[in-house]
């Protein structure tokens, strides 16, 4: 049997979803490794997870600082070589701040942190994403959301991003344009998502709908696509 492929989880000071995403990788068949943000992921890493939490306390602006960490600086090259990246919640904010995904995430409207089980719907995107092969278009999934700065904004409006939005909330939760709940880069390999698929991979705790994401990535790696 092939050894389990490595999934690196970057841990920033203040990250608090690192265990959640690592467990989700593990359930999908990966071998998760934690990588201190001051270091870089092992060379044989196929998949990188940027976890949720309050990196650097989320002071001043969520995700502001993380992009300068060595682990993050290595990501553009990693993606260019075919690596897969997922950022959840604060991880999504970090990927956006780092320029790996377009647009910006700002204060919820109405303002304030909110936790809620939400329903998101899968959409057709221009690029096929290895993160979504198990998620048919139109599928509805239940994940918890838990954020205060998840309001997705793009200066050029919905039309500029519509092709890259793989999930929308079934109703507006935080002010995001077009109810955007997630975003893909132009390669489809970088996936940022505001609600938490990583908290929906254990049927005992609310929903198993998040497992599809991590299993899709595992398929891609198993088929040598990443």
């Amino acid at each position: 049997m092939n050894p389990r492929p490595k999934a690196a989880v970057i841990v920033f000071p203040g990250s608090n979803g690192d265990r959640d995403i690592a467990e989700s990788f593990e359930r999908a068949g990966f071998a998760p490794v934690y990588v201190d943000s001051r270091e870089t992921a092992p060379a044989d890493t196929k998949v990188v997870g940027v976890p949720g939490g309050f990196s650097y306390g989320d002071y001043w602006r969520a995700g502001m600082l993380a992009r300068y960490a060595p682990a993050m600086r290595a990501l553009p090259e990693f993606v260019a070589k075919g690596g897969l990246v997922i950022g959840v919640c604060n991880g999504f904010q970090i990927l956006v701040e780092a320029g790996l995904l377009p647009g910006a995430l700002t204060y919820n409207n109405p303002p304030g942190f909110k936790h809620k089980w939400v329903t998101v719907e899968a959409r057709e995107t221009k690029q096929k994403s290895p993160w979504l092969t198990r998620v048919p278009r139109g599928m509805k999934l239940r994940w918890p959301m838990a954020h205060g700065e998840g309001n997705y904004y793009h200066p050029d409006g919905w039309d500029a991003i519509a092709d890259n939005v793989p999930f929308v909330y079934d109703r507006n939760m935080n002010g995001s344009i077009g109810n955007t709940a997630a975003m893909l880069d132009s390669t489809g390999r970088v996936f940022g998502v505001m609600p938490h698929p990583d908290r929906a991979t254990d049927p005992h705790i609310g929903s198993n709908d998040g497992a599809l994401i991590f299993e899709s990535a595992h398929d891609a790696v198993a088929q040598g696509l990443a």
Binding site: W60, R61, M64, L65, E97, G103, A104, T106, Y107, N108, N109, P110, P111, N151, Y153, H154, P155, G175
Partner: protein, 84 residues
């Protein structure tokens, strides 16, 4: 070298919705205070910058804003420099 005192204000860019400002405006209205309209809520930061001139101090601040403190998609900023 001299030390310059800088006051930085970062606020929502024109056209970007400002839910925080709206919420504060709503709260003011809730107090039944008339004739007050809150426009924007932003962030304030004070710092000391060592530089050879006001211009250099400004450059350092601009650079810091670009690299870290301001998200150009959402925000603009003004920096006031007080002399050494």
């Amino acid at each position: 070298m001299a030390t310059y005192k800088i006051e930085l204000i970062v606020k929502p860019k024109a056209g970007v919705r400002d839910p925080q400002g709206e919420a504060v405006d709503g709260a003011v209205k809730g107090l039944e205070v008339k004739g007050v309209k809150v426009h924007q809520v932003g962030r304030y930061l004070s710092m000391d910058v060592d530089a050879r001139s006001t211009d250099e101090a400004k450059r350092i601040v601009d650079d810091l804003c670009k690299r870290l403190l301001v998200n150009p998609n959402l925000e603009t900023y003004t920096a006031r420099v007080e002399g050494a």
